[in-house]
């Protein structure tokens, strides 16, 4: 069970999409798990063959629990699995506390102890509990019941709890520094407008794509802001994976990554962002998208916000906030002109990033936005 967020403790396996014996390629989606961030598609990290499934649908397990064994290509199947093991094994039952009398009664009356709630000392199941259950069973034959899926209100409460945990940890542990600058976006937006004018409607670019790409390129110049603070030291990110804060309709947010955003062209960033937003709101994000952003961008400009000073998503060390584009009197070559400007901010973890480096990063973002044709 992968950790799909700083504060995730457990997830529920919803569905296996591959069967034992299936060949797997890196990036294949093997299963769906339910988390406080919605249903997440779990990807495979390496090529191999699905050897054995360990966790059955419906089971909730802690982060770090193996879900399945994947063997290397060419490796012999594990001996424990019969060749025809194409069915999903049932969930291993937790040990029940039950009195010997209860165990005997359970065997005689064919009652599954794991389905009972004990009323004995320390919650142990007693003989009476078993007999009561057997009586109920005679009155009404048990119907196989799956645990009820969480209601939208439950899911929202879980997501709020996850956000609360991550943000509280951030503000408790991370000494934030905040820097801001106002960037003249006139040329960038004129370029974008001309570009969109000659594009069909479904190939248009949004300004946020320029922002995400500018951040990704700036990260390459100032890699010290790209990564994680783990075990009292900075661990650089492997690649530039820009998390994009996406508000969900009805509340809550997620910040899945656009992987290697520095190496993707604007059209690719746009189509991936469109896809991420749609899937985030549908609740079908992939594990790697949630697990490995190396820096995050939040854009609140659509809401009319002038400047957004964001809270870092731990264990990342920086987050960039963008406000709205707005016309302002601006001094250009010694003269006042009306220009379209935008305020960009960087919140950085001062344990990992000094003000000077954060400032270099912010000015690199500005420089990239002054030359959007080269993004």
């Amino acid at each position: 069970m992968p950790a799909l967020g700083a504060e995730m403790e457990a997830g529920t396996l919803v569905q296996w999409l591959k069967l034992p014996g299936d060949a797997l390629k890196r990036g294949d989606i093997i299963a769906v798990v339910d988390t406080e961030k919605g249903a997440i598609e779990i990807e495979v990290f390496d090529d191999g063959v699905l050897d054995r499934i360990l966790i059955a649908p419906g089971e909730k397990v802690p982060v770090g629990t193996p879900l399945a064994f994947i063997r290397a290509v060419g490796e012999a199947p594990s001996a424990a699995v019969p060749h025809a093991a194409l069915t999903i094994p049932s969930a291993p039952r937790p040990e029940c506390r039950a009195s010997p009398g209860a165990r005997k009664a359970a065997e005689d009356l064919k009652v599954d102890l794991a389905t009972l709630v004990g009323t004995g000392p320390g919650g142990a199941i007693t003989r009476e509990d078993v007999e009561r259950a057997a009586g109920r069973a005679r009155e009404a034959p048990p119907v196989p019941t799956a645990p009820a899926p969480p209601s939208p209100a439950d899911k929202m409460a879980a997501m709020r709890a996850a956000i609360a945990a991550a943000m509280s940890r951030s503000k408790r542990e991370i000494p934030h520094i905040y820097l801001s600058t106002t960037i003249d976006m006139s040329d960038a937006l004129a370029w974008l407008s001309a570009e969109n004018q000659r594009r069909a409607v479904d190939r248009r670019l949004l300004p946020v794509v320029l922002l995400v790409k500018a951040v990704a390129r700036a990260v390459v110049e100032v890699p010290g802001v790209n990564g994680f603070w783990v075990a009292d030291r900075f661990k650089p990110g492997s690649g530039v994976h820009v998390g994009c804060a996406i508000a969900l309709r009805g509340g809550g947010l997620v910040a899945p990554a656009i992987h290697d955003a520095d190496r993707k062209d604007l059209d690719t960033v746009m189509s991936e962002l469109t896809d991420l937003v749609a899937r985030a709101r549908r609740g079908t994000l992939r594990s790697s998208e949630l697990a490995d952003p190396t820096i995050t961008v939040t854009n609140l400009g659509d809401l009319g916000v002038e400047a957004a000073f964001a809270v870092i998503y731990p264990p990342q060390v920086a987050i960039v906030g963008f406000g709205k584009v707005m016309p302002r009197p601006w001094v250009v070559d010694g003269r006042i002109e009306s220009r379209t400007v935008l305020t960009a901010t960087v919140s950085a973890d001062h344990r990992a990033v000094d003000g000077r480096r954060a400032g270099q990063f912010l000015s690199a973002i500005e420089r990239r936005l002054q030359a959007v044709g080269q993004l």
Binding site: N196, V201, L206, P207, V208, A247, R249, D302, L303
Partner: protein, 87 residues
């Protein structure tokens, strides 16, 4: 295509972007931004859907004309050759 048909498809397009809206009670003359939470990505998806439904390419410079449902219907009607209503 009649204006009523355009109206229905416009509401469908909107509901495709913002599933929480109630198309039955959605006000035609009240500003979209006062009735539904649309960010720039949502609005672009709405415009793409208008193109898919009606074949109308709305240039960015015309986005401000699409302020409410009635205005969207007028815009679409004008571009696909439906007579404007008498008001």
């Amino acid at each position: 295509m009649t204006r009523a048909e355009i109206h229905e498809k416009v509401l469908q397009a909107l509901a495709g972007v913002a599933p929480e809206i109630d198309t039955a009670t959605f006000e035609t003359d009240v500003a979209l931004r006062d009735q539904v939470d649309l960010d720039s990505m949502d609005f672009l998806r709405f415009v793409i859907e208008l193109h898919r439904q009606f074949g109308v390419q709305v240039p960015e410079t015309d986005y401000q004309k699409l302020s409410n449902v009635a205005a969207v219907i007028d815009y679409v009607a004008a571009h696909i050759g439906v007579t404007a209503p008498s008001r």
